[in-house]
Amino acid sequence: MQLYVNIAVLASIYALIACGYVLIYRVSRVLNLAHGELMMLGSYLLLTTASLFTGHPYLAFAAAALLALVVGALVYLFLLRRMTGEMVLAAVLTTVALGILLRGVMVLIWSASQQYPREALGWANPAIALPGGARISTFALLLILSTAAVYLSLFVFLRFSRWGIRMRAAGQNPLLAAQRGISLHGVYALAWGLSTFTGGLAGMLLAMDSGLDGTMVVIGLKAFPAALVGGLDSLVGALLGSLIIAAAEIFLIHHVDPLLSDVVPFLVLIAMLVIRPWGLLGTKEELDRV
């Protein structure tokens, strides 16, 4: 039973991170390889807002989440906007450089040592007993609930809201979208904002549960196979991919060797790329654009 709880928690973590990769890829065909760093930045922002708003943990949390959204939009507007219409590869390389830069800056500002935003916010993290004898920490449960809420909101947003529909339109045919008066820069900035918001949220909840240091980037990187296995342009695919990767990882850790943990996602990814390179639910013709 505990095994399944662990899978659910890990899958939620991956899914919450992976939807950020999917959002940006789906509207602009850009792989954001700085997503792990941006996610970590989100949790460091929480550390800072926690010390700014002592005694107001909810305010600190909301401020950090909002900041993450703004940071994402700014990254697009000041950095990637110049790449729009150029080769996708140039944009992807820019995100790589951004990631390296962010990592350096974060160490400079917040140091590389392990930190605990939960203590700064003054929240406890008691374990909750589940039927069947399994246990789950409060923030892990919160993470699962947040992932569900985020995916639900994203589905509703993309299907029913005007801006959501415009985002899908721009992803399918940017030229026509521009011809119909849709502001591509607006749509892309929104995608970056939402992506960094969800990634930041994942980072914050993760840091609340188990502390925060430079290794968080690795988790961001491990969510990337989850997005790819599902097919980079599909949210349902990201959900499915996260579940597969998390299940494979937990089972192998449990039955074979805990040291496999960091390798498993990429093993699954390679297997997937050999069998079905466009992912479980991805669009086949998208492949040549990666």
């Binding site: 005007r162 529909i165 415009r166 399918q172 030229l175 026509l176 011809q179 119909r180």
Partner: protein, 265 residues
């Protein structure tokens, strides 16, 4: 009366090497339907792209001449700014969002400076002109037939509230009934909404049926122009575009055709 659109001596070069349009001049008056005729590669699409500003994506540039819209020079404006001023293009290919439903295709459009009421009215009108689209509103646009797709593309352009509609290849790949329906709608749209239309067509018969004025392009130049009836009765048009007399010959080999340009050009 100032012309709605005035193109003067327009020259467009692709990749700094291929001159696709070499000094085209044309005029669209308010509330007019103007046809641009010509065979493959004559430069019709390029002209429309130049007017709507979407040239940079194909690495093309306007190297000479001017495009005036309501008196203002627009050839150096960004595509977004041109769209905002009221020129909307229905492109030759990729004219709908394939994975959006018909209804979503219409909602996605982002017209500027229109109130919600105006927007609603245009949506209603579009459904009056094309009742089929209301029936198909839940269908993904990628599964539409060619005629339905063209309807959706025109409807999508109309809800952007254009003053000038550019339509590339109205009848391409469509059955005669579908084409007739579309042209009838365009005439209605022009009459009721006061939208001017610049129409690119391979089929002179279709275009000259509804056009007030027509231009015939060949190798990036205007070789013939005149009002609809006059072009229709012109012997060269009769022979080479309407299939009037006997076997098809290449008009490039006919000297009389070259000579007759001077009378009109």
């Amino acid at each position: 009366m100032t012309a709605l659109l005035q193109v003067e001596q327009l020259e467009v070069v692709y990749q700094r090497a291929i001159t696709a349009v070499q000094g085209i001049s044309l005029v669209v008056q308010p509330n007019q339907i103007v046809a641009l005729l010509g065979t493959n590669g004559a430069g019709k699409s390029t002209t429309l792209r130049a007017i709507s500003g979407f040239l940079g994506l194909d690495d093309a540039r306007v190297t000479e001449g001017a495009v005036r819209f309501k008196g203002e020079r627009i050839e150096t404006l960004s595509p977004q700014d041109i769209t905002r001023r009221g020129i909307v293009l229905v492109p030759e290919r990729d004219k709908v969002f394939p994975n959006l439903t018909v209804a979503e295709n219409l909602i996605a459009n982002a017209p500027r400076g229109m109130t919600l009421a105006e927007r609603r009215r245009l949506h209603e009108l579009v459904h009056q002109y094309f009742p089929k689209l209301a029936e198909l509103k839940g269908r993904e646009a990628g599964y539409l037939s060619g005629g339905e797709r063209q309807m959706l593309a025109i409807a999508g352009a109309i809800v952007c509230g254009p003053a000038l509609l550019l339509v590339d290849e109205l009848s391409l790949g469509l059955a005669p009934v579908a084409v007739e329906e579309l042209t009838r709608r365009l005439v209605e749209i022009r009459r009721e909404l006061g939208i001017a239309i610049l129409l690119v067509e391979q089929s002179a018969a279709v275009a000259l049926e509804i056009a007030d004025h027509g231009y015939v392009l060949e190798n990036g130049r205007v070789v013939l122009d005149g009002d609809g009836p006059r072009l229709k009765s012109h012997p060269d048009i009769q022979e080479f575009y309407l299939g009037g007399s006997g076997e098809r010959r290449s008009y490039r080999t006919v000297k009389q055709y070259r000579r007759s340009r001077r009378w009109y050009g």
